[in-house]
Chain length 488, copies 2
């Protein structure tokens, strides 16, 4: 099995594609740029979704659902927004096919042309704020804290499974507030939720920061981001939360009456994470043997393999352990196949990233032992079958923690502080990773650096201390370092 994966050092990009394919996460489809998310890949997304959904609900949000289609004219109402999305959208122009009058098959029925074209949503600010207009009259109607789980389409030219696809699945929160302060707090709250999810569940450490003006969401006054580091030294923007000011309220004329009977425009946020997170998860932990998954999100956490193959005695033990684990909320699978050899199965589950593999063998059993292999470190040990369940539960925690620690150590090794442009260029083109450098705050310098090195400002970090210095490119004064990297 493992031989079929390209190694990271040989070709990182091919390694990623090999894992996606061999671990059964996704497939290409017949539609350009759209992927099929296979059952294992989808199960990871379902686990992410369940956890995020709970975190949103715990912070007072509710789900709703808005139309897939957006009237073309809505896009134009917010100037930056249309600029950001018009060039990459799927446009519905007709609502009927008809038999081909000149041959076989079906063709578009020209008489079924829409009066106004519909855009398949690339994001839903416009249709949602057009709806909020009807829902908000008074301060009593605020805040509105709404999220939706949906598919969106952005007609990307260069696609990669999970990381960048024409259609993707995501959640988009859209909240409405009576004050600027409250809206900013909301954007910050979600920023924190995203960071917590990334670290506590994905075991993927992230830098929390703000986007520069040129990297902001189209239509936002401020964009908060979490930035993760992949094993090839590139950054992945993993989740963003936007303070939208009153831009959409003004575009769609959404006002509310204050307690003092004054009319005010409503303040807004929006925020989203997508199936891109699955790509980030793969690239944060996996190795040259295949997928590595943090236990909290793994579709199967423990697999039990009777060795050399299932028989009545082995299965009795396997079933008992599995039942005990299930009672403790562990997702466990017994491999009941009696055709394939154990070695083949081991490689298969390694490829699929199952965190713990338990082997129950005849000879071990005589000594009351089972073999436990962990995917992250590939360590094996024999432990007593009696009370093995507690050991396994604890080991899942240990694996989860180890993956986070390992990813943090990798990030530290790949975070550099540089103070001149020569060093900057050599780090960016060499080991890569996050580069902390002073920047003069101008879009001009930002663009120039991007042009020369392909590195972009990933964020202006929130947690770092301020530190004065001079811009690594222009030499102009700077108040703090920002984070540069090449990015996905």
């Amino acid at each position: 099995m493992a031989k079929e994966i390209t190694s990271r050092s040989e070709n990182y990009s091919q390694w990623y594609l090999d894992i996606v394919r061999k671990a059964g996460l996704a497939d290409n489809s017949a539609v350009r740029g759209c992927m099929v998310i296979k059952p294992t890949g989808f199960a990871i997304w379902e686990n992410m979704k369940a956890q995020l959904d709970q975190m949103f609900k715990d912070t007072g949000h509710v789900n709703a659902y808005f139309p897939l289609f957006i009237p073309k004219s809505f896009l134009s109402k917010e100037a930056d927004h249309v600029e950001g999305f018009a060039k990459e959208c799927a446009v519905v122009t007709h609502h009927r096919l008809m038999n081909n009058p000149e041959g076989s098959g079906v063709v578009v029925d020209p008489s079924a042309k829409l009066e106004e074209e519909l855009i398949v949503r690339p994001t839903s600010e416009t249709i949602i704020w057009n709806t909020y207009k009807d829902w908000i009259q008074s301060y009593r109607d605020l805040p509105l804290l709404i999220n939706q789980w949906a598919n969106v389409v952005r007609w990307e030219m260069r696609t990669r499974p999970f990381l960048r696809t024409a259609e993707f699945l995501w959640q988009e929160g859209h909240t409405a507030h009576a004050s600027k302060e409250e809206a900013i707090q909301e954007a910050e709250l979600i920023h924190e939720v995203y960071a917590r999810f990334a670290e506590d569940y994905m075991a993927m450490p992230v830098i929390k920061g703000r986007k520069t003006e040129s990297e902001r969401f189209a239509g936002a006054d401020d964009t908060f981001t979490i930035e993760a580091l992949m094993q090839d030294g590139r950054a992945l923007q993993a989740g963003t939360s936007h303070f939208l000011g009153q831009n959409f309220a003004k575009a769609f004329d959404v006002k509310y009456m204050t307690p003092e009977n004054k009319e005010n425009y409503v303040w807004a946020t929006s925020w989203g994470v997508s199936t891109r997170l699955v790509g980030g998860l793969i690239m944060t932990h996996s190795d040259d043997e295949g997928l590595v998954l943090p236990p909290k999100l793994a579709p199967i956490q423990v697999v039990i393999i009777p060795i050399p193959k299932p028989d009545e005695v082995l299965m009795q033990h396997a079933e008992r352990i599995a039942d005990n684990l299930k009672t403790r909320g562990i997702r466990v699978k017994i491999d009941r196949d009696d055709q394939k050899r154990p070695g083949f199965k081991f490689a298969q589950y390694e490829m699929e990233g199952v965190p713990i593999r338990v082997g129950i063998g005849k000879r071990d059993l005589e000594k009351n032992l089972i073999e436990v292999a962990r995917r992250d470190t590939k360590e094996k040990q024999s432990i007593s079958i009696n009370g093995c369940e507690s050991f396994l539960v604890d080991l899942l925690d240990e694996i989860q923690n180890n993956l986070l620690a390992k990813a943090k150590a990798f990030r530290e090794e790949h975070t550099s502080s540089v103070d001149n442009f020569e060093d900057f260029k050599s780090v960016i083109s060499g080991k890569g990773g996050f580069v902390k450098a002073h920047w003069d705050g101008t879009a001009e310098t930002e663009n120039k650096i991007k042009e020369l090195t392909k590195a972009t400002i990933r964020c202006i970090p929130i947690e770092d201390d301020e530190e004065t210095g001079v811009c690594v490119y222009s030499g102009a004064p700077s108040k703090r370092r920002v984070i540069f990297a090449k990015a996905y």
Copy 2:
């Protein structure tokens, strides 16, 4: 509040729309035929979805996700299928907008025309079977038991919230099997799952049966259906499960190698239920005061209202009861509002269909009593606050059972056996409901009856005994009664 709802006897159709609007379930959107599902409506769908998803997983199914778009040519590959869907589909023809060269706004960029148009999926058999071609080689790859939760679009001309909308949410199962028998068993299994869900969770009794040939899904060899009866005497097709034979395997050339090394086409099923179920739920139980929800699917099962308004003592009791109920898995809300009067709140929760309302009032409390009002019967009673939680949990069960019993009684009252066409016409145009009648088995008679009475054959019931007779319309011999009704 309640006065704002049209009564059922006055205008059933307006009553339905009033409930959808006043209970905050859905709104019209700016896009023709597409609705916005509001938080309360969506929470009902989420509860349905969670339960159905569990039932699918318990029967061995996994979730995956396939593209939103279907290449136009795929539709034509199965002759009946394209016939059934080509006339009502949204067609994507371009992938870019550009600034209007002749004025403001954006227009479709003519240079971004797609080589082949894409159809927004009305259902996914074609794109899925095109994918299964790559996934299935041998009998070892079978069965494939896959479901997806997705949005689909059918360009309906006459729409009604939940019941018929251009975009709707649904699940679609698509399974692949090595034998005809196994595929039929799968279609029957899901038919049973749907019936169990409708009765045990929605408290909506259904008749299980087969569709006639003319009412089958476009591309199916056999369609199983569950049919429910609404309060206006119309039937609602609530879920269908299709045995697709080898039609899609042949259209997409999906073959498998048998253990004997012979090539065979794969056997298929597909099955789905949609947000239409929310419409069925509303129409099965609600009354002239508003929505009535079965406890198992109600977003809020118990609401606690401090009377006349929250104070420290009342809130202490309310919080304690709420916590105890939550521990038992009950979805409970405390009304913390201190502006609105109790009477207003009562009407509001009645409108929203909350199954149990608990009033905690100062005077009652002196006697250790609370007031419990059930939504289904509108009965009120005072019960001891001590141990009230067990009482409330049992009452939720009782309400669930009562709603099913009531709906069953209604259906019995509105099910008629008729033996001549005069009676047939008078029942259909009069009290409505299900009409059991003999039919000669021809599409001609079926169409004629539809033309004359607007009644269609809802199903050939599975559980009724065979009984010979003569066709109610043609007088030709018949082996069993079928179920007629006017339908949504």
